[in-house]
């Protein structure tokens, strides 16, 4: 029993010691809704590659919200107690997230939203991509590929997260222009490849031969649908399938003509958010470091919103994008 206690103490001290710091650094927390799918992992990796993090000026701590709004709330409370200098926020729920922002705002900690929206006017700034636009683009792509008529199914993100709300809006707006296209099913697979696989399998059984196209509100789900189609012995190239994000497997699938996708610039969103956070903390003397600002105006003062452009993935640019991705994720 004594030995067990000693081991526990030593372990705890090692953990504690590894994280104790003596030098002054900006402490910035990144509260992300979940790390099970690739996109948020890319976002987090890109954040850690920011020059100011690499140089030690900023210490980033990533808080995994585990797809649970109350976990994110608790994480914000903990960050307030520790006097974090700023918080980057990717919320799981557009409404519940407002409470977390309020908690930080009451402690005068700037919160920069990134990638996913939250219904709060206490956000210092927001940097993200226009999800209505991408929803629009992917639905257009599928509609055109099936010749403007037929049946499609839509795989959605977690209901209530801003990306799901806005991409659905874009999907349906685009499809309204094609009265001969019918949406057979529209259900959530929670951004998950595994859930989408099961859902697609069931739909293939329920509507044999009737599904003409698949719109996945993100790549992971579109990839799940591809798996289902392949496992059903069907020719995946006969099904126009669209996704969003540009995760690695999706880019490979695009290369193989199995789907189309639109790249979401995780590096721009993550590093841009950190730049904005440092702008809020240090002031206008701070110069942004992300490559993203080459195309977007940094401006004289901080705006409430910054838009990161989408990059449609085509046979022309997919090889370049794949090697950039390799460079980002090399450990």
């Amino acid at each position: 029993m004594k030995r067990l206690v000693t081991v526990l103490v030593v372990l705890s001290l090692i953990v504690g010691g590894a994280f104790a710091q003596a030098k002054k650094q900006y402490k910035i927390g990144a509260a992300v809704y979940g790390l099970k799918a690739e996109y948020m992992r890319l976002w987090t990796t890109a954040l850690e590659r920011h020059p100011d993090v690499q140089s030690g000026l900023v210490k980033i701590t990533v808080f995994d919200g585990q797809y649970d709004a109350s976990v994110q709330q608790a994480q914000f409370e903990n960050m307030v107690v520790q006097g974090y200098d700023a918080i980057l926020f990717v919320p799981i729920d557009i409404n519940a997230g407002a409470q977390a922002v309020a908690t930080a705002a009451n402690a005068h900690i700037p919160v920069i939203g990134s990638n996913t929206r939250v219904k709060s006017d206490q956000l210092t700034s927001y940097i993200g991509s226009n999800d209505v636009l991408s929803g629009n683009m992917e639905a257009e792509a599928v509609a055109k590929a099936i010749g403007g008529k037929g049946n499609v199914v839509i795989l959605e993100g977690p209901i209530g997260q801003s990306a799901q709300i806005e991409r659905r809006q874009g999907n349906l707006e685009a499809l309204k222009k094609y009265p001969k296209i019918k949406v057979l099913e529209m259900k959530t697979a929670n951004w998950s490849r595994a859930e989408a696989l099961t859902l697609m399998e069931d739909w293939l059984n329920a509507y044999p031969g009737k599904i003409n196209g698949v719109i996945g509100q993100n790549d992971e789900m579109a990839l799940g649908a591809i798996q289902a189609i392949k496992q059903a012995g069907l020719n995946v190239k006969k099904f126009p399938i669209a996704g969003i994000d540009g995760v690695t497997d999706a880019m490979i699938a695009v290369k193989n003509n199995e789907m189309v996708s639109i790249l979401q610039d995780a590096t721009g969103q993550a590093q841009g958010a950190l730049d904005l956070a440092l702008r809020a903390v240090i002031g206008e003397s701070y110069k942004p470091k992300a490559a993203f600002w080459k195309d977007v105006d940094w401006g004289k003062t901080m705006q409430k919103q910054y838009s990161v452009p989408w990059v449609p993935i085509t046979q022309n640019n997919v090889d370049n994008l794949l090697s950039e991705r390799q460079a980002l994720t090399n450990r």
Partner: protein, 341 residues
């Protein structure tokens, strides 16, 4: 042996005994209070490792964050004491949470103005009692093993939650409701903590000062003997599942108020933390043995570990490994203790 020799031998024996006595007493204290000591040990280590741990604001945060799991764990204690288990508390929490939200939110279809929060509270505790009651009937009357019955309810409860909300979160909760999760007493004690303390106090009285409580232990210890001695074992078992459900509903009320929305995804895997708290606290999964104090400190330990590791910036992946190790470690410790007794 001469008289003098006998006296001195006795004296020698008694001084050796006194040494053994002290050792036995120490063992006794560790056996009684082991879990409390471990808790304070963790706090000491964390206080040393992070300057923020002992800050009053942080300690209050920890208590607030522990209150929901604490409520679930109290109910879980009652269930496990009877030799059962309740895997459905997370789903019951979610369902009662969205039911409450639907009464106090104008965003819920068909509601033009928020109902009084009393109605929302009663409705949510009511549905939870019903679901808990179903568990209770399945286990006590239909002889479905608790694991299976509550596993089924885990799935059904979650299903009901999605059906009721059509899969959508319920935002725009009336501000008067939010005080449950965000209000304070005396300006600094969070209401969730007060609710937990009251629930704990009531549970304590029920378990230790009433016949019902004694019967709970009896049923868990040996159901057959309990029945033979005239205890209505079916009723006892039925009620512990109702208690577990109702406490999950109270947890759900706090959760809804804290997140300002009724979220159908809420509470996933919460049953695991509740079971962990009970097990770490020393309650035996086979029933009849254990106590609420153990559960209290089990829940506090889980909360403190989570909070401490957050303060130290340890990634969630390591937190999961450490939590699992503690659960197993606690049970091992317990079995060593029992072997030495």
């Amino acid at each position: 042996m001469s008289e003098r020799e006998r006296v001195s031998a006795k004296a020698e024996m008694s001084s050796r005994d006194q040494g053994k006595d002290g050792e036995a007493r120490l063992k006794g204290i560790i056996s009684e209070y082991g879990i409390v000591l471990v808790f304070f040990l963790f706090c000491a280590v964390l206080a040393f490792a992070s300057p923020y741990f002992l800050k009053p604001k942080n300690l209050i945060n920890v208590l607030r964050q522990v209150s929901i799991n604490g409520l679930l764990s109290i109910g879980m204690t009652f269930v496990i004491l009877t030799g059962g288990i309740d895997l459905s508390v997370g789903s019951i929490l979610a369902f009662s949470s969205v039911v409450a939200a639907s009464f106090v939110s104008t965003a819920f279809p068909g509601r033009t103005e928020a109902a009084p929060i009393g109605i929302a509270i009663l409705a949510s505790m009511g549905v939870a009692a019903v679901l808990g009651g179903v568990n209770g009937i399945l286990v006590s009357r239909m002889k479905v093993p608790a694991f299976v019955a509550t596993l089924g309810m885990l799935s059904m409860g979650r299903g009901f939650t999605f059906i009721y909300t059509d899969g959508m979160p319920i935002p725009k909760i009336d501000p008067s409701f939010l005080v449950i999760g965000q209000g304070t007493i005396f300006g600094f004690v969070p209401l969730p903590v007060v609710i937990f303390i009251i629930a704990f106090g009531v549970a304590w009285v029920v378990l230790y000062k009433t016949r019902f409580g004694r019967y709970v232990y009896a049923v868990g210890g040996n159901e057959k003997s309990a029945k033979v001695s005239g205890i209505n074992t079916k009723l006892i078992i039925f009620f512990v599942y109702v208690i577990s459900g109702v406490l999950a509903a109270i947890g759900g009320l706090i959760l809804t108020a804290r997140t300002t929305a009724g979220l159908p995804q809420a509470g996933q895997s919460y049953e695991l933390d509740a079971i962990a708290a009970v097990v770490i606290g020393g309650t035996s999964l086979s029933g009849g043995q254990g106590d609420l104090r153990g559960t209290l400190f089990g829940a506090l330990i889980i909360g403190v570990i989570g909070n401490g590791l957050d303060l130290l910036g340890v990634s969630s992946y390591y937190q999961q490994v450490i939590k699992g190790a503690i659960i197993v470690g606690a049970v091992l410790l317990d079995s060593f203790r029992k072997r030495n007794d």
